[in-house]
Symmetry: C2
Subunit: 436 residues, 2 copies
């Protein structure tokens, strides 16, 4: 049940990819050179930008996309022998270019271009989309929370509100987008995200007896074990009494208090005043409990030091999947595209540049045919958005380290025009022009 | 990156569980006998019932919840040596009672009662909640789709819109709730869910050349490889032409056609008429593309044979997490509960019964203290809802097989009063009475 590098990712695949493979091997079309493109037709309702995330995890998952005996046994139940033989030898040997992890994206941005023969590329559809749709949804929501928090510390604590194996990836995506720490220990191990967390209400309630509650005993126990720098949860019974008891037990050097219920703004002010009166002027106030980017922003004027965010983070704050698709756009050098209603796409392998003013503020994205010359850019600063990610099946060295991806999100947020950072519903922060 | 039974699940845990453990071991409170209860304070907005799912996966994950050298190395970075030593020997040795997998639940239903000493139970909080909150969210949404489909076939195809390792669990939860098949091959392997899937638009587009498109060649290739019983995707270019070509190539014995875009109701009628005129009266119509329970219900009058459901299924159709919590309710026989605002809970270990009329239609759920006699039930049929799931750390044999859980959902849906199956926003289908 745990993420293991050596395990196969090959069955994280939709059956139709392998039936298409069988048909394409049989009629010879499997050898045609193809480009598949990953893009989002639109951003989630009202969002002004998205954050590309998942690249680092995809590069790891690619190396595990091999069919061993267990995977082949499943495939053999519905595939002809020659297809099973082909899968036995499969490893991806194509190239992938794409937006760097942490880059902002907009509707139609060619986030990945996957190139190789049809057989090589078609089997990766589900794995690529699952990773990117999940991680980008979380990172995109997280980035809004980061800008709402305006520099205050953010802890991701949503593991319990998402699939147990999605949780570490959510922590990674949140950290990438600028969160400071996570509650999830597998994310600490797998991705090196800093860990955080001290206690829950159960620990205080545990110190109850036939004679009633003993909050002071719980606080003493925690401080003895974790030191005076710990954060005490003060809202199990009565917050004012909880704060008084906390400082009584810990002294004014207490690291922090956490409030997990009630009107957090009012309570934060009361608790700050109370702490200051008790001389605990350095004790931080941590708030948690159904926070999202709007609640975080609404607390900006209050004396909150740390936000703990759970459900809304891991569910993408209303947009739990990024809605990216994986579409065949070119076959043997010829652009192809679905034509029927509502789901048209643009054929051909593409590149993209983003234009910025001298100040660094971005003004436009231009998507153009990969074979065409770069578009004229009227004196703006120009940055090419696709970078090489995979060459002949091998990840390009150092192309998606978490530290670098985190830096890129921070740079991206700074580059947005001011309307782009508004939390209210709006249009994409910059327009995208598609050149034929 | 794959689900492996032998791997440890122990770090799928929030850090605070282990810091609480350290403090509880230090002050002796770790040995107190506790009951933790899993319940949902409320159903997602407007929902009339929930479906318990995750039990089978939890029982598997429990046996993998052991701290090996890798897990201990992470723990040792923030825990004292005696706590690390304790974790080295840890396996859960307590008892768990709970609603059977597939049982319906309502606000406040005591879905699980986890009993043991504090240390034994506290470390399982995140694992239990992650599994139940995910799987129950998916199963609850899926059950609404199943009742909307009114007996027509449903295929789960949402893997690409959720985390790659959440996808197989989503398939399992959908199947449990009454779906017929899944696109996800890992779900086929891990859980025995029937697989389904034939082709995507890319396969048709692949058969393009400098001289244009060759839909007939794509259809031929697919039929040669997969047989005439396959389902051809007919909406890549023009649906009417696509259907004509499909029957021309496959003959009237063609298994099915799939429509993935446009006004599915109008198109299904047109395509049915066209197929019938061509003599393909047995060819099934599969529809897909942004379906949810409302769209499924809206197509009830149309000649649709199979629904393919993706995004809305794996994102819980607006409720991606079930919102269950894990609360300490009893310590050494004494009920305990948090008292501060908004998040009060009811102390004490509980049991629950569900009352039904002689027809089997349920009328009420009664939650009562585990130590009290079963409540008076006025001549109604009475069913006790909690069953033994784990005894002394070991799963009770055969208690959560997928086949049995699936049967239980079907029985549960039949037992609901008719308003309970309405898709519109409403109150819980039956009231719950809490006895002190």
């Amino acid at each position: 049940m745990q993420i293991r590098d050596e395990a196969s990712t090959a069955l994280l695949t939709d059956q139709y990819e392998l039936t298409m493979l069988a048909a394409a091997l049989a009629d010879g079309s499997a050898r045609r050179q193809c480009t598949f493109e990953v893009f989002a037709r639109r951003l989630p309702h009202g969002r002004r930008y998205g954050v590309v995330a998942g690249t680092g995890r995809l590069l790891d998952a690619l190396s595990g996309f091999r069919f061993g005996p267990g995977e082949l046994a499943v495939a053999a139940k519905f595939l002809p022998a020659n297809t099973v033989d082909w899968l036995r030898e499969y490893r991806f040997t194509g190239d992938i270019d794409g937006y760097a992890e942490g880059e902002l994206y907009f509707p139609g941005s060619p986030i990945l271009s996957v190139r190789g023969n049809f057989a090589d590329c078609v089997v990766l559809e589900t794995l690529i989309l699952s990773i990117f749709n999940h991680d980008s949804a979380i990172a995109s929501a997280a980035a809004r929370m980061v800008s709402a928090a305006a520099g205050r510390r953010l802890i991701e604590m949503g593991s319990r509100r998402t699939h147990e194996l999605a949780a570490p990836s959510s922590s990674r995506a949140a950290y990438l987008a600028g969160f400071d720490a996570t509650s999830n220990l597998e994310a600490v191990r797998s991705f090196g995200v800093p860990g955080a967390g001290t206690s829950a209400h159960s620990f205080t309630l545990l110190h109850s007896g036939a004679d009633g509650e003993h909050e002071a005993a719980a606080f003493s126990g925690q401080i003895d074990a974790l030191g005076v720098g710990t954060t005490l949860l003060v809202d199990t019974f009565d917050i004012t009494r909880g704060v008084a008891t906390a400082v009584e037990v810990a002294g004014p050097e207490l690291g922090g208090v956490r409030i997990d219920s009630g009107d957090l703004g009012v309570l934060a002010r009361q608790v700050r005043d109370q702490l200051d009166e008790l001389g605990a002027t350095g004790t931080r106030i941590v708030v948690s409990g159904d926070l999202d980017e709007y609640a975080i922003a609404a607390l900006r004027a209050e004396p909150v030091d740390v936000y703990g965010v759970g459900t809304s983070l891991v569910t993408g704050s209303g947009a739990p999947t990024a809605g990216m698709v994986y579409k065949l756009v070119e076959v043997d050098g010829i652009p192809v595209a679905k034509r029927s209603s509502h789901k048209q796409s643009r054929g051909g392998t593409k590149k993209a540049v983003r234009l910025a003013r001298a100040t660094g503020t971005i003004v436009e994205e231009i998507v153009y045919p990969a074979g065409a010359p770069a578009p004229a850019t009227d004196g703006f600063q120009v940055r090419e958005l696709q970078v090489p990610l995979v060459r002949a099946g091998e990840p390009v060295d150092g192309v998606a380290t978490l530290a670098r991806s985190r830096e890129l999100v921070a740079q991206g947020l700074v580059s947005l025009p001011w309307e782009g950072l508004k939390l209210s519903d709006g249009e994409p922060a910059v327009p995208t022009t598609f050149l034929d």
